[in-house]
Symmetry: C2
Subunit: 339 residues, 2 copies
């Protein structure tokens, strides 16, 4: 079984001043504000998620069950300045969850206190369960996977937006988290890039088990088949997810891979053909149902032109989940993916 | 740095009666008999590698530096019946290496004895080093990777045969092991399927670092791009290896994937196109230089006909490394892969 985090959370922001280092917290607050009783900050004038500022004790009184370390420190370490708050959280009856490179469970003081008070330390980047190797056996229920031209192009955001739209329309749908921010948002999932290679597709299979025939699993994609570092993760996730529907995610202003400037963004048609060919191994009826473009760096006119041009060129609904919503993509997936 | 095992070995066969469970030992004895001083068996009438039978003490006197547990027990455990020999090996000054699911380092008695005597326990399936994520930066030197229509179709054997042929002709060449048997054979390498997913291609990059422009790294392939469980490993290894040359390996009598009977063996042309498309991400000049077919289950006439037919159909040298040798493949790779 994948881990399941206790909710609601109180989000710990340390003394973080860079918004980009608090992306995880911001994602949780945006997508699951109902799971956040407030924020704990070591001082004022730093990153602010517009949640109620509180102490550990106030968080407990507000019903918090788990303190989430929702920031990424330089080097992914656990700062010594955080320890007083983390320790008092354990003493006050909260569990703690983090997705840092360094493990909470490797800090003796925290481990000792957690044992003493019967609390749990969740290092969500390190899977606790053993996975099986992939079987490739078709499962019941429907699945959508977001895939990308690169990393960090909005796959999580797109998947959550599609889950939300489906639920609003009364469809049974579950976002399936494959990275740490997504796992904090829904409280469960598998950090697939931390799984031992032999078990990538097996882990992905376990993430969206057999379900009702009309149920949709909306699986968060990772990496890109065109990424020289992470394509293996992407392919294992693709095979294990057995998607019926794919959405191609892209950042409108990106021309090369982020941090890999020698690698151009693949042409969309070639990119989609490659994803379809790979995905068809475990689901021959896989199809693209849309393209999801992050147009945040374009003005309104340019964004609309971009989306219209791409939509005409590829014959698929082309949305920006923030600017336009994902209605058109969901319309298409419900219409085209039949039993 | 990848691990490097001390040689020569003495091969420990326990009381194994199934030849197939002693494949690792058989591979070491076949490819590196000069590294094997003998075999240790718990009793007679069991698997025999035609090496000198000896005791631990005799192995030490014959110069052995490391006892290799070259069998796979049911469940990958360390049998209690093995412990007396393993313990006396440590006491006599030998290191121990194993590639089982269970770790030597998790057996308290062995760990304590190893510490006491300053010996080392190598669990070669568990990488000891940290890897970087892949960079995708082209490295100097030439590389060949064996790829397959499935698992267990002769990729290791083919790679070792090509290394041997290159060395016989006076070329600088190194087999690069990516699985446990290969690692025992050459004493070093990386068990790529045990690497955390995020670092597959980074691990593959570290395995064949920059080298002389005329040096050949012959990288042992793993899995298959058409395998629903292991394709992620295959793709990460393919991207990180940056091969100039590929050899397609296949078992002549196999029609579906082994143990995955719903998955047919892909048509060779489609299969090679898929490998080339994926490999070209990190090396656009990649090409196939041959096909290596295990024809052991065919009689001589049928094997020759099969190889000739495939050779004509695909226009590539088509060899069985055991039956015909790999001369034609090596001829082609040396002729076609230029600077």
């Amino acid at each position: 079984m994948p881990i399941t985090l206790p909710t609601p959370y109180v989000l710990f922001l340390g003394d973080e001043t860079e918004v980009s280092n608090a992306k995880t917290s911001a994602g949780i607050a945006y997508w699951r504000s109902e799971n956040c009783v407030g924020q704990i900050r070591l001082k004022r004038g730093i990153v602010d998620l517009s949640l109620a500022d509180m102490t550990v004790q106030q968080a407990v009184e507000a019903g918090a069950k788990c303190l989430v370390v929702g920031i990424v420190n330089f080097g992914g370490t656990i700062a010594s300045t955080w320890l007083p708050v983390l320790k008092s959280a354990l003493e006050a009856g909260l569990d703690i969850a983090a997705g840092l490179h360094a493990r909470l469970n490797d800090v003796p003081e925290l481990r000792r206190l957690a044992e003493k008070h019967g609390r749990k330390l969740y290092d969500i980047r390190q899977p606790e369960q053993d996975f099986n190797v992939g079987l490739g056996v078709k499962r019941t229920g429907k699945r959508l996977l977001s895939v990308g031209t690169d990393c960090s192009v909005g796959k999580m955001y797109t998947s959550l937006a599609i889950e939300k739209e489906l639920r609003m329309r009364g469809h049974a749908a579950d976002f399936r988290a494959t990275g740490q921010t997504g796992m904090f948002i829904v409280g469960t999932g598998v950090c697939v890039d931390a799984v031992v290679s032999d078990f990538i597709s097996g882990a992905a299979e376990s993430l969206s088990p057999d379900n009702d025939v009309n149920h949709w699993d909306i699986v968060e994609g990772q990496g890109s088949l065109f990424h020289p570092a992470y394509a293996g993760v992407t392919l294992g996730l693709l095979h294990g997810s057995q998607p019926d529907a794919l959405v191609l995610c892209h950042d409108a202003t990106r021309e090369t891979l982020e941090d890999y400037l020698d690698f151009p963004i693949p042409e969309f048609g070639h990119c989609m053909d490659t994803y379809l060919a790979a995905a068809s191994l475990t689901n021959p009826s896989v199809q693209f149902v849309g393209m999801s473009i992050n147009t945040s760096k374009l003005n309104d006119t340019n964004a609309q032109q971009y989306l219209m041009r791409i939509e005409q060129e590829y014959g698929l609904p082309c949305c920006d989940p923030v600017r336009t919503g994902v209605t058109a993509i969901v319309d298409r997936m419900l219409k085209k993916v039949t039993l």
